[in-house]
Structure formats: structure tokens, C-alpha cells
Symmetry: C2
Subunit: 268 residues, 2 copies
Amino acid sequence: MKARVFRGGAEVPALSPADRGLAYGDGLFETLLAVDGDMPWWHAHWRRLSGGAARLGIAPTDQTLLRSAAADMLGQGRQVLKLILTRGESGRGYLPGDGPPTAILSVHPAPAAETAPLALHWCETRLARQPALAGLKHLNRLENVLARAECARAGYAEGVMCDEHGQVRCATAANIFARIDGVWHTPDTALAGVAGVARAQLLALAPDIRVAELSRAALEGAEAVFLSNAVRGMMAVDRIGETAFAESAAYDTLKQRFLAAHPAFARD
Amino acid sequence: MKARVFRGGAEVPALSPADRGLAYGDGLFETLLAVDGDMPWWHAHWRRLSGGAARLGIAPTDQTLLRSAAADMLGQGRQVLKLILTRGESGRGYLPGDGPPTAILSVHPAPAAETAPLALHWCETRLARQPALAGLKHLNRLENVLARAECARAGYAEGVMCDEHGQVRCATAANIFARIDGVWHTPDTALAGVAGVARAQLLALAPDIRVAELSRAALEGAEAVFLSNAVRGMMAVDRIGETAFAESAAYDTLKQRFLAAHPAFARD
């Protein structure tokens, strides 16, 4: 893995073991699709990162520096750029210091294109409702790690996560959409889950998507289901546990619109 | 800060930016009091760390190696040893890999002794109920960070944290005990909060301490309140927000018993 570490505006040779990203998950991250060195959603990711940093009280960092450094690291073809922003170093203890933030850039291979619709696991691991952190792509992701490990044990690569009240929130690494009575629905992210960049692009593209609570029963009764994330785009789902979903003309139509607006996500 | 990093059984020069402790807070930590190079509660901390690692599915690591390395780092006087254990490196994505865990040891100055009872802030920041993680001293500590920052803004060094149902859970970096109707009470840690090592030592020393739900009203009406943690031991509280607490003979008696059983925590 190629990685570069910045402390404030200066590149440093290594990550400090006193970094609060390690100590407390005190930071945020973004994973961006890059195609031939171009990051088509850079601005949307940066906007979410900046907004999250403001919510957590993390100092802003230099967008121009990081974008330029990222561009220097990227090559041809499809890649994933991961950007971690932490509150930087401090002494021991939860009290934030006043030092500069840390940024870590790394480049990863893009995942292979899906060759078939996804089958999802119903995760036993619940997401806790925490409005102070909900929506943020923060570094406190043990719930997702446990849910993803649970999917693997059950033979799945993804799964649906509910909160402790049984409301559907998201997949382990994607937002979820369900077509109910001819309308696409996606869960609110004010109580739990990440406000995905791909989700935001879809909501902008199709304002008739309804942001609403989604019960397990409603999801099981949906006409069609798909996932979105900022690296894979839209992904059709044909099964959740024992529940099968048919192919959907409404999904195909929305995906065509999505790919027309965001051609970097076309894989053929 | 002196620090040493181990990847499985081998010391390495630096923390990898691909470590899952940074990426997802995918790990645990312990902070141990050391006095003249001795760590009186090593076994209790190791037991909690091992139990937490088993709950999270993190591979066990070599206690003898880490204890010996820690001892080599410690000097005379009172110090704090911090031990972080993470799931180690992996590729991008929540799915745990099968590589060795990472351990990071660092030595810090011990905090100064309290010269007076503590005044506590009522934190607005709530702890979410998450039984899959409750009790663990894991690295997903943004709630504590936000609460501690809130205390500082309000002019306090510590604060009381409640869950989203208004039940008292803990302080930002300590467990809490309240004397009610002549009996010490401390909140359960099955839904939220850390099962503190000092708390466990107190429960072993005084089996009449009752582990029970504790409402804000019950805490405000308590005869006496104190905090415990594994570095500071027992700390008297004389105020929470506007509520004052008198000196307590019951506290003095319990503290005498605690210091007799654990003389490393005596500061005079």
C-alpha cells in the first residue's frame, strides 16, 4: 500500500503512535473512486469531510495540498484513494489538544465489478442510535467491522444492518434503497449510519427518493432493493436472507440516469 | 512520548498507516499505573484485554513479551503505561484480515494527585447503548472525546455521562459510584460504559456495592459520590453541576480499605 502522512501542512515520514486517530478513532475518512488519476467526486467528498470535521471540532486542513498529493500518487485505470483525517497528536487522555490535524493518503486497487446482483445477510450486529455521530464517516467503526465479520462467517460479502429498534439503517459499507409502492425509499441517517456521498448524489439526481424510516418487514416486502457507495456506485440486490427480489425496470432506469450523470461508474 | 510497536511477536520501527486501529478503531487499550517500574494491576488489565480481544475476535498476543518490553520502558516514580492492541493491518474494507495483531506500548507521566474533591459537569453528550461493545475498553471513543471537550468548554475536568434514556453510565474517563440509602451503587456496564479495572477491584473488595441502574435524580439525591479509575484510584466528588455532596465517612472508610488493599494508590 502506498501511503503518505501529513501533519498539518507538512509531510512526515510516519504516523505517530500518539495520534488520536489510533488512540480513540478521533477522526474521519473518505474513500474516493479514481479513474486514470481523476477523482470525479472529489468536491462532494471534501464537502462531507469538512462538514464532519466541523461537527467534531477538528481543525480544517489544506484541500489544495492534499488533492495535489493525492493526484501525484494515482496511476492509470481504476483505483481507490483513501483519505483519513484525524485530530492529530495529543498527550494521553480524551481532552483534544490544539496541535495540527493528521491526514493520511493511501491508494488501493478498485474492487472488481459486480458480475451479478448481490445476496445480503441479515446482520445480527446492531447499529446503536447516536445522533452526535450519525451521518459522519468517522473512524469509530467497530460495529461495521463486527457486522462484516458476521457476514463472512455466514458466507456473504455484505449485509443489512438494523438499529436496536429493528429499523433498517444501511449495509455494512453502503447505503440501502428499497422500492415500495412505486417509490424509492432510503433510511434517514440522523440517528445511525453514514450519509453516503453516492446516496447524496442519488438524492440530488432523483428528488422523488423518499428519506424515511424503513422497517425490516417493509424491506422484505419491497419491489426492488439496491445498495450505493462511492466506489461501486449502484449495486442491484436480488436476495436478503430468504427473501428474493425480482429484476426491476425501475432500478434499470435509475441506474441508466446515474451512469449518464456519473460516467466514471460505468464498468463496461 | 516513548513508544514501541510490535507486529505479532516482532518489534517494528513504526506503526503502519494500514493498521486497523487507525482505520476503524479496531482494537482495545489499557492504561496501567506503574510505580518504580512495577505495575501492580498488570494481571487485572491483561485479563480484561484478553477478554475484550476474545469478544472482538482479535488474536491473542504474547503477554510475556509485552510485559517485559513494558518493564524495560519504565523508570522510577509514578508513571502510566498505555498498551494498545489492534487487529493489525489489513487491506481496505471492514473485513478483518488474518494477520498478526499490533501492540503499541507508551509511557506517560502520571497525573498529579487530586488536592481537593472533584466538581463534575453534567455532559450533554450521550453514550449510545450498544451491548456488542459495552464494557470493553475499545478504541471507538469519540463519545468520550466529545464529552471531555464539552467539560473543558464548561470549565470542568470531568463530567457525568448518561445514555440516551437518561440513565447515568459513567464519567468520561472513570466509573461512578453513588451512596443511596446507605448502600454504594454503580451502574451496570452491559449496555454502555467501560467495565473499569478499578471498579472490578472495588466490587471484589466490597461485595455489598450494588450494580444497578442509576437515574440522574437518584445520583443528585445521593449521600456521597466518587469516581474510580485504574490510574487515579478513588476520587471523591463534592459537586455535580449545581448539586453539592457533603464529606462522607462511608467514603473515607471505603478508601482506607482500598488503599490498604492497593497501597500503590496512596499518594501521601
